[in-house]
Amino acid sequence: MKLYAYCLVDDLDTLDVQRPGILGADVRALKIEDLSVLVSDYQFDAVPVTRENALDHAAVVRSVLDRTTPLPFRFGTLVTEQQLRNYLSARKPSLQIRLGNVRGCVEMSIKIIWELTQHDKPNPPYAATNQGAGTTFLAEKRREILGDEHRSQAASEISSWLREKVSGLIRDEQVTLRPAEKLVLSAAHLVERAKLHSYKEAVSAARQERPELRFLFSGPWPPYSFANIELEFKTQFGVS
């Protein structure tokens, strides 16, 4: 019998919310040292990615959001109790830092779609002194690459603009830019609960400023995007 793990909390002694978990199993809080993991029993070897399971997972994690800020596990976290204990004792310091980082916050999500074609800026053509195949090839690549750079700059500009609109209202952010795609920006913002109202107002106002962009705004979510310990590697080693 394995355990399906939903999320990690450090300041919840009892679970009064009896929200059923995957396949209707009872969810309980497994206390390991001073941390608790919300788990339910799961008898099979793997977890199907069904609508029902995904929604159940999400519902269990958010059921504690009123009382605490959990670190959610990724969907499909199936472990033995021993694996869980090993994981927690090995990672405890990092996990406690993470829990501290997200304490009192929720995650808000902003996604932006733009018109790709609008960012195709015509560049002055390359003045080639000969028209060989190789030169023509490179001239065309130059046009593409400069276009890409232009789009990357435009995407960064949108990212900076958004950051500026919510500055002072967010504790942290995770932003993914995809300048070559329609879904150019996907941002997760860590917002303190007390600032949530101001944050929403700021975002609403921002949306009006850029009618050429399409926005999708969702939340509040438990802090899925701020849970992963690997992100520490990213900031520690400056990988970007």
Binding site: A46, P48, T77, Q83, A227
Partner: protein, 73 residues
């Protein structure tokens, strides 16, 4: 509605234009704590293990089994 024969049949519900489900999937499938770099998810009875760089590989036994069968044909 299923995808081509080379691929696993995807759960039909994903074909829905359910923005709420898609946003939920984006959060629970792509983010969150990962234990030992392993997540066990199954699609159509095949056990799959995500490793490290999000590269999906089939379980070791399954791959060898299939390879053996293929070589016998």
């Amino acid at each position: 509605m299923s995808t081509s024969v080379d691929q696993i049949t995807v759960i039909d519900e994903w074909e829905n234009s359910d923005i709420s489900l898609l946003e939920t999937l984006d959060h629970v499938l792509n983010r969150g704590l990962v234990i030992a770099g392993e997540i066990t998810i199954s699609v159509a009875d095949i056990d799959l293990i995500f490793v490290g760089l999000n590269v999906l590989v089939s379980s070791v036994e399954t791959a060898h089994e299939v390879l053996r069968k293929h070589q016998m044909e």
